[in-house]
Amino acid sequence: MSNYNRYGLLIDLDFCTGCHTCEVACKQALDLPTGQFGIKVHQEGPRKLENGKWEYTFVPFPTSLCNLCEDRVKVGKLPSCVHHCSPGIMHYGTIEELTAKANAKPHMVLFAPQ
């Protein structure tokens, strides 16, 4: 099977605010106990850059527990993290669809957890 039939998550690094919604949405969807995460927000900075601006960026990172919400997508719903993402910066789709989106805008990361 071609990789292009696989599904993934595309994340826009410009606009992730680090709100942790995806983490709680995931914990509830997968019923994860304290200390476990299917997606975890990582933080870079704040760090002052030489041009005077600040590096202050978040990235939600799917862990090995992420199953892309197979139960939800089976019935036609979006993965819970994508559905609830407060800044609306997570996209779910086939790698092919997401690659096209990633090509259209810089500062995107594409994860293919499965």
Binding site: P46, K48, K74, S80, C85, S86
Partner: protein, 766 residues
């Protein structure tokens, strides 16, 4: 089989999905926030099984925050209050006996009648916490049930949340204005009239964390995606500040000066909208004269913001097409809160960014359905009784009805001194003032225990309830109550779909107590009858609660440029709802009341400038009330998921100065000043000023012993041990929650022997 999105997320208010019932509703009660996001409850057998964001809600478009998703944990929490409780030990012993609602009502009736007879109805004060689905219910009970004019926030010094901004702008603009993020259009960003603001000036708030005033912070992010650029005024590098064109890192409490400095640039460089100013505003010459007293280099010195940045940011904003201002709580939280609001709003006004698409637009409650703190004040109280409201004698804005609350600091003074008359009973509904709302928490603790009788209505047993309540009543959470929201648009409904033990909604409680005390004023049978009475008072809303429930949300068409269309003034003329009919840059009413009619700056009561000697001992400027994503004020501390993300209270300190002081990330430290001390853990921030400390508020520890001296540890980490009451501006509004002074030192075993809760409850205080 896979369903389509339209089958999964329907537009009717209720449907079946397998063995689950799905209900569309809105979340706007405790535990929660100020927003009112659309969500879906999935229920089975009187239990909420799960919650999802409602993709058909234009307000939040299916998105939720971590607190809302975590509501399930709160609904069934083992510590929730389940039935009425009567105190059986002393106040502070946390000993209670379960009683019936009927018995509770008997006790309330007996005490209220006794106090009314002995001291007069005015000696009973009704109080609530921050404005959610509790804005009109307790006022109605206070005015129509107790017969008292004294409804107010529970000891929020200077009413300094939203009220200073609201009062000022009501007087000078005649309305309230908010940043236009297309939130009043059902089709949102696609609305043909809507225009994305070119620049948003975010002042004194981090809307992503704070969920301020019916404003969803992530709307700003949606606008950033569509090209909006930012100016952020904040001592803290927020995520938004990190992405702003200009981050103005001001000294806490100097907002008014910075606003005047920006006005100076805009006026002297002729960057303002001359046509708008000439046609629609009053007092520009006086304003121009006033801003001459605030040249940019002087303002730079006051505010610590470099001169060039003030100039460039002012130009950047004034030249936007258009600009908008998103202002927040910190504008209110200085003694100069009102003049700060005046300076900031004036920046937008003289640029003509008023009520045009993508600017600051005027908004009133949906369908003018009242939901305010003044509900029932005129109808149920005689002029003689109204004249007794605490604080009115001192403050003309209160007396003239600009802010419909008893002045919180005046209530405290009346409790302490019996003057102008004694306060003998407190009715505190969903508020926990010694944990976060009142400045000087130890002082409040003493005061609220002096009364004859107190009732606390809440979701959980709180430190405030243990400290002072004689009766504790269990309130319902959002899916346990019928309600509505008209705090701006759209009109939204919340539906009762489950019942938890003997909890009752705020409406039901107020109705049942009211019927006992003054049945003639409470003729309604059910909570829905009461809501329908509120609806019936609107001239434009012709439907009932059931219709709204099925619609879930109801948008009215939003009109821009109302001042050109005669939609603001009661006489139907064009212009603004002010005495001059103009937007008043110079306030004619302030002048009449003996207040400064123009914006001005004054130093906070404690600062390196106003108290240089004290500042040698307490070298940091302390801001309190820092928000985090996990908590809303003193709520959510019981929830294991929220505490997993945020187990302990944190204060921010500059990384370099922390290193010099030997303080590392996570170290427990004491913050201390002349008023008291508290301990929190250090979070090192490379971007914070070396002179500023930023402390969280609202901390108590439900996992700790509830009885005194521990009292859930409510004073141990309480940044309001360091703030003071009764330091208000001449309007009565404003208080220095966000600009006092402190020192910092590491907590050791030796210096932590007597924790603040023990000191306050057993050793007479600091």
């Amino acid at each position: 089989m896979m369903s389509t999105y339209d089958e999964l997320y329907r537009k009717e208010w209720q449907w079946q999905e397998g063995d689950l019932t799905v209900t569309r509703s809105m979340q706007w009660s405790g535990p929660g926030c100020h927003n009112g996001c659309g969500l879906l409850y999935y229920t089975k057998d009187n239990k909420i099984v799960k919650i999802e964001g409602d993709p058909n809600s234009p307000y939040n478009q299916g998105r939720l925050c971590m607190r809302c998703l975590n509501l399930t944990e709160s609904l069934e929490h083992k510590d929730r209050l389940k039935w009425p409780l009567k105190r059986i030990g002393e106040r502070g012993e946390n000993k209670w006996q379960r009683i019936s609602w009927n018995e509770a009502l008997d006790i309330i009736e007996a005490n209220v009648r006794k106090i009314q007879k002995e001291y007069g109805p005015e000696s009973i004060c009704g109080m609530v916490g921050t404005g959610r689905n509790i804005c009109w219910q307790v006022p109605l009970l206070t005015y129509a049930g107790f017969g008292s004019p004294n409804f107010g926030y529970s000891f929020l010094s200077g009413d300094s949340c939203f009220s200073p901004r609201a009062a000022f702008i009501a007087v000078t603009h005649g309305d309230f204005s908010v940043c236009d993020c297309s939130q009043f259009h059902e089709d949102r960003y696609d609305n043909p009239e809507y225009k994305v603001p070119e620049v948003i000036l975010i002042w004194g708030n981090n809307p992503i964390h704070s969920n301020s005033d019916d404003f969803l912070g992530h709307w700003i992010v949606e606008l950033m995606k569509r090209g909006t650029r930012l100016i952020v005024v904040d001592p803290k590098l927020t995520w938004l500040a990190g992405r702003a064109e200009y981050w103005l890192q001001l000294r806490p409490g100097t907002d008014a000066a910075l606003g005047l400095g920006m006005l100076n640039v805009i006026i002297n460089e002729n960057l303002y909208d001359q046509e708008f100013v000439e046609k629609w505003t009053y007092g520009f010459e006086e304003l121009a004269e006033r801003v001459r007293q605030y040249p940019v280099d002087k303002v730079a010195e006051i505010t610590w913001v470099p001169k060039e940045q003030i100039e460039e940011a002012a130009r950047f904003f004034a030249q936007a097409k258009p600009g908008a201002i998103q202002w927040g709580l910190k504008v209110d939280q200085s003694v100069a809160g009102v003049p700060a609001a005046q300076a900031i709003a004036t920046i937008g006004a003289i640029c003509g960014f008023i009520d045009i698409p993508g600017s600051n637009i005027y908004i009133r409650d949906a369908y003018d359905i009242l939901s305010s703190y003044g509900t029932g004040y005129e109808e149920f109280l005689s002029p003689e009784m109204r004249a007794k409201r605490l604080g009115d004698e001192k403050y003309p804005l209160k007396r003239m009805g600009v802010g419909p609350t008893a002045h919180a600091d005046s209530v405290l003074v009346a409790l302490e001194t019996g003057k102008p008359y004694p306060v003998k009973m407190l009715w505190i509904q969903t508020s926990n003032p010694i944990a976060n709302m009142g400045a000087d928490a130890p002082r409040l603790y003493k005061a609220i225990r002096t009364t004859d009788f107190n009732v606390v209505v809440d979701l959980y047993m709180t430190p405030t309830a243990v400290a002072c309540a004689d009766l504790v009543l269990p309130a319902g959470m959002s899916p346990e109550r019928n309600g509505y929201k008209t705090w701006w648009h759209p009109l939204r409904s919340t539906s009762k779909i489950v019942q938890y033990y003997e909890c009752k909604s705020d409406e039901q409680i107020v109705l049942e107590v009211g019927k006992r005390l003054a049945p003639q004023n409470f003729p309604w049978e059910t909570d829905i009858d009461l809501i329908n009475w509120m609806f019936s008072r609107s001239a434009t809303y012709k439907e009932d609660f059931q219709t709204l429930q099925q619609k879930v949300t109801d948008y009215q068409k939003y009109e821009y440029k109302k001042y050109e269309k005669g939609l603001l003034r009661f006489d139907g003329e064009t212009g603004f709802n002010t005495p001059t009919g103009k937007l008043e840059l110079y306030s004619t009413l302030f002048a009449e009341w003996g207040l400064d009619p123009l914006p001005y700056f004054e130093e906070p009561p404690y600062s390196p400038v106003s108290t240089p000697l004290k500042s040698k001992e307490y070298p940091f400027i302390l801001t309190t009330g820092a928000r985090s994503l996990e908590f809303f004020h003193s709520e959510h501390r019981q929830l294991k998921t929220m505490r997993e993300f945020h187990p302990d209270p944190l204060f921010d300190i500059n990384s370099e100065i922390a290193a010099e002081m030997g303080i590392q990330e996570g170290d427990w430290c004491w913050l201390e000043n002349h008023n008291g001390r508290c301990r929190q853990r250090a979070h090192l921030d490379p971007a914070l000023s070396r002179k500023v400390i930023r402390a969280e508020h609202g901390w108590w520890f439900p996992e700790m012993e509830g009885s005194e001296p521990a009292l859930f540890g409510v004073f141990d980490s309480n940044s309001n041990n360091l703030t003071e009451q009764c330091q208000n501006g001449p309007t009565g509004y404003g208080a220095p929650y966000a600009n006092t002074i402190c020192k910092v030192y590491k907590a050791t075993e030796e210096n932590s022997l007597d924790l603040p809760s023990l000191v306050v409850t057993r050793k007479g205080g600091f």
